[in-house]
């Protein structure tokens, strides 16, 4: 298992290099420059020219790549053009925000997705099932940004239950964090809840049709015992395999959700960086995010192996 983890980590390195090359390639094609962003909407073209010189954006792209890679090997991701701070510092400051949001969404996804799926499977073809699956279907069909907008109007404006956005650090004010993060997490998680509920239900139905479930029943096991002791572990195996994907989608979705809810996370940071042509930020940030995703996927694979004895005991 340890060797496997190491091998997976080693495989991640060339992928990261490819990631950085691809992002370089794309950014090379992107027109516009960060000076315009920095200068703001009221800047005159004159301001712009001077600002560009100031920022050293006149260097050729190749030079910029060389500088970037040289520094990367020194563990230095460079300075953000727009924020004027080291990329690494910014990324490290912002990631906990996105990660806490992603974890909240993930918890929502797992708790709601699993329970809706399990309940639907247990009440297969009954009205509970119908309602649960309609909910799941709507979940996977509604655009998350739209859901966010509608939720703001509903929960913040009309009902006044939740703040319209922003971010409260968890350790300063857990209750405040919870209130502020609920809508972003929910709009982020909605689609995943739907997907997971559907996956769970179909897997659960499949598992419940398995011979070993019949065996469990033949032993006189109660329905709860059948579901939670015998079926659940088997349902969790495919569920865990999609966790990596779900996490990736949650982090990806954070770009737009963080923008709408004014959450200063890594998604909004990178979205802004792309729109603002903040090249060092994009490069460094993407490598960081890709690395996090790759590591999470490795963790998920290890977790999968741990859950499934057929893979584990080998």
């Amino acid at each position: 298992m340890f060797a496997y983890t190491l091998r997976r980590l080693a495989q991640a390195v060339p992928i990261l290099l490819l990631v950085s090359l691809i992002s370089f390639g794309i950014m090379q094609l992107v027109p516009g420059d960060p000076a315009a962003v920095l200068a703001g909407p009221n800047a005159t073209p004159d301001d712009l020219i001077r600002l560009r010189e100031t920022l050293g954006l006149d260097k050729s792209f190749l030079t910029q790549i060389m500088i970037f890679y040289t520094n990367l090997f020194k563990g230095d991701l460079g300075y953000s053009i727009i924020l004027g701070e080291p990329v690494l510092k910014v990324v490290i400051e912002r990631s906990p925000i996105s990660i806490s949001l992603a974890i909240y969404s993930l918890v929502l996804t797992i708790v709601l997705g699993l329970s809706i799926g399990v309940v639907a499977a247990m009440k297969h073809n009954r009205w509970v099932d119908q309602i649960a699956m309609s909910f799941a279907l709507i979940g996977v069909s509604v655009p998350n940004f739209w859901l966010g907008l509608v939720m703001i109007v509903l929960f913040s404006v009309h009902l006044g239950w939740l703040p319209t956005g922003g971010y409260v650090p968890f350790f300063e004010d857990p209750a405040g964090w919870f209130l502020a993060a609920t809508m972003p997490a929910l709009s982020l998680a909605m689609m995943q809840i739907g997907l997971l509920a559907r996956l769970t239900r179909s897997t659960m139905l499949e598992v419940l049709g398995q011979d070993y479930i019949r065996t469990a029943r033949a032993k006189g096991a109660s329905e709860a015992r059948v579901i939670f002791k015998h079926a659940m572990n088997n349902v969790l195996i495919p569920v865990v395999t999609v966790l990596g994907m779900i996490l990736s989608v949650l982090l990806s979705g954070s770009v737009i959700v963080e923008t709408i809810f004014a959450v200063p996370g890594i998604g909004a940071l990178l979205g802004n960086a792309i729109l603002g042509r903040d090249y060092p930020m994009i490069q460094g940030g993407l490598i960081f995010v890709a690395a996090v995703l790759l590591i999470l996927n490795i963790v998920v694979d290890v977790l999968y192996a741990w859950l499934d004895p057929r893979v584990r005991v080998q």
Partner: protein, 525 residues
């Protein structure tokens, strides 16, 4: 003999007596109440507080509560001293001697000296966005801790206007930061508020600077200057990019002040007793300028045809949802240089004349590309409506919609691929005649005139406008220059929109301005 400009000469006596009476806490006399956290909902994301290299409103709105300048603009946008007590200008107009206000300290506790001023000017002249403002400077000196002396190479009538310009102000920073690279400035100033917490794109928190030394030559705020006091303990500028969310936050009381309330919402929240609305009537001038190097807009007749075709009421109505005023000038009404010269060319809405001019120009359906962005919805709407009006008279108008960085970059770097570019001028217009026409004058012309030389007649008037010592002469030159802009269709002003702001009813002392001023604002229960 020297001219001595001293702030509030008349008032100084009054102030002196007021000072004698002020025995209690320093802020008690202005603030109706002290304490609390004032929360502002901002539209734009804020990336940096380095005021030297940043022209964005978002930055200025926050940074100008932290930093102060040697000289700035008052509520009429006239130059006024701020960190200096007095200014002596030599008769030959080559030497400017500033005497610094005493007792001013930076947020790090260090007293302000002329060395800091010199360092700030050093950094600005190296990387400041408007460093051309210091183009006529030969050098500066610091004869003593309280004296800062600027020596010019040649006299420049608009020199004080230049160094007091508020678009990218020359804020005073501690001397040890003179070498800070662009965008990496630490936000340490002398203002009434000091930086507490800054999360880019999210929020900035400021707290009262207890050792702040107010400028006591005025009673209260005047433009960027004045007597400032931090009534609230902290100020939080929160970015709420989602317009619906921003106003909702005001309605729920999450934020206390929101700038740029959508027109439609102003009607809806009019009945809300918890919210008070204020308006800066003339906040932004919206305009478009042509590319004089790209056919067919290199042809004056074509430009005139377009000018004649436009129904500016419709354009302004659409872009502002009905909250606007027409404005046949590059200045706001009420400003010193305001003139309606050339207004016969403005808002003609005369399709027949346009068609005739087109025919005369020999226009043959060449595409006319309107370069705009969706990032600023008003610019997009303006271009969209304008394209419809152009199509109505038989012009082949095409929208080129790019994101703002790309669009602005293209308008600067390219002479091909676009015929009209759209923008809005806020501070540019506010700062007077010369500033507002500077973008059409050499060397910073934006309309890509042939051989990069702007119109000769216009330039002649612009020189007078910039350099004449006589105000009446400058005003006449502005009028003539503006008329020339209309005649030559070097730019087409659309109109002016107000800035609608709203505060919670318990926010007192807040006065709308081009910039967000949180001094002298207090929260009642």
């Amino acid at each position: 003999m020297t001219h001595r400009i001293s702030k509030g000469r008349l008032r100084s006596l009054l102030v002196a007596s007021a000072l004698a009476l002020a025995a209690g806490p320093a802020y008690a006399d202005i603030c109706g109440k002290v304490g609390g956290d004032l929360v502002l909902g901002m539209e734009a994301k804020l990336g940096t507080l380095d005021q030297h290299v940043n022209a964005a409103n978002a930055t200025r709105n926050v940074a100008m509560n932290i930093f102060e300048t040697l000289m700035t603009r008052d509520d009429k946008m006239a130059p006024i001293l701020d960190l200096a007590d007095s200014l002596d200008v030599s008769d030959d107009k080559l030497t400017y001697i500033f005497t610094l206000r005493s007792g001013v300290k930076f947020h790090n506790g260090k007293p302000l000296t002329s060395a800091d001023v010199a360092a700030s000017f050093d950094r600005y002249s190296r990387i400041g966005v408007d460093r051309s403002a210091l183009g006529s400077v030969d050098h500066w000196e610091t004869p003593d801790d309280a004296t800062f002396k600027i020596i010019l190479k040649e006299p420049q009538a608009s020199f004080l206007e230049s160094i007091s310009a508020s678009t990218v102000p020359i804020v005073i920073i501690p001397s040890e930061q003179a070498n800070a690279e662009a965008t990496r400035l630490e936000a340490i100033g002398t203002g009434p508020f000091q930086l507490d917490e800054f999360v880019a794109d999210s929020h900035v928190k400021l707290k009262r600077y207890e050792d702040y030394k107010p400028n006591e030559t005025l009673d209260g705020l005047s433009g960027f200057a004045g007597r400032k006091q931090a009534c609230v303990d902290t100020v939080t500028f929160r970015t709420l990019a989602e317009p619906g969310a921003r106003l909702a936050a005001l309605e729920t009381g999450e934020v206390d002040i929101v700038e740029d309330v959508p027109t439609l919402s102003t009607e809806r929240i009019a009945d809300n007793k918890d919210i008070v609305q204020t308006q800066l009537k003339h906040a932004a001038l919206w305009l478009t300028y042509p590319n004089l190097s790209e056919p067919p807009t290199d042809n004056l007749k074509v430009r005139q045809a377009i000018q004649a075709a436009l129904n500016l009421d419709e354009i302004m109505d659409a872009m502002s949802d009905g909250s606007y005023s027409l404005n046949p000038s590059f200045q706001f009404p009420g400003q010193t240089y305001y003139s309606e010269a050339g207004s016969q060319y403005y808002n003609r809405n005369d399709p027949e004349a346009a068609k005739a001019l087109l025919k005369e120009a020999g226009y043959n359906g060449e595409p006319i590309r309107l370069l705009t962005t969706r990032d600023i919805p008003r610019l997009y709407t303006a271009a969209l409506v304008m394209s419809e009006q152009m199509k109505a008279v038989g012009m082949n108008a095409e929208l080129v919609v790019l994101d703002w960085p790309t669009a602005l970059g293209m308008s600067v770097n390219e002479t091909k691929g676009w015929n009209f570019f759209y923008t809005g001028w806020i501070t540019v217009t506010a700062q007077g005649g010369a500033q507002s026409l500077r973008n059409l004058a050499d060397p910073s012309n934006v309309h890509k005139p042939k051989d990069n030389k702007s119109d000769a007649e216009f330039m002649k008037q612009f020189e007078i406008l910039s350099n004449s010592p006589d105000l009446e002469e400058r005003k006449a030159a502005f009028a003539k220059a503006q008329e020339r802009v209309f005649e030559q269709v070097m730019a087409i002003p659309f109109g002016v929109t107000p800035k609608n702001q709203a505060t919670r009813a318990n926010v007192k002392g807040y006065v709308p301005f081009f910039n967000t001023r949180v001094s002298n604002v207090w929260l009642e229960n």
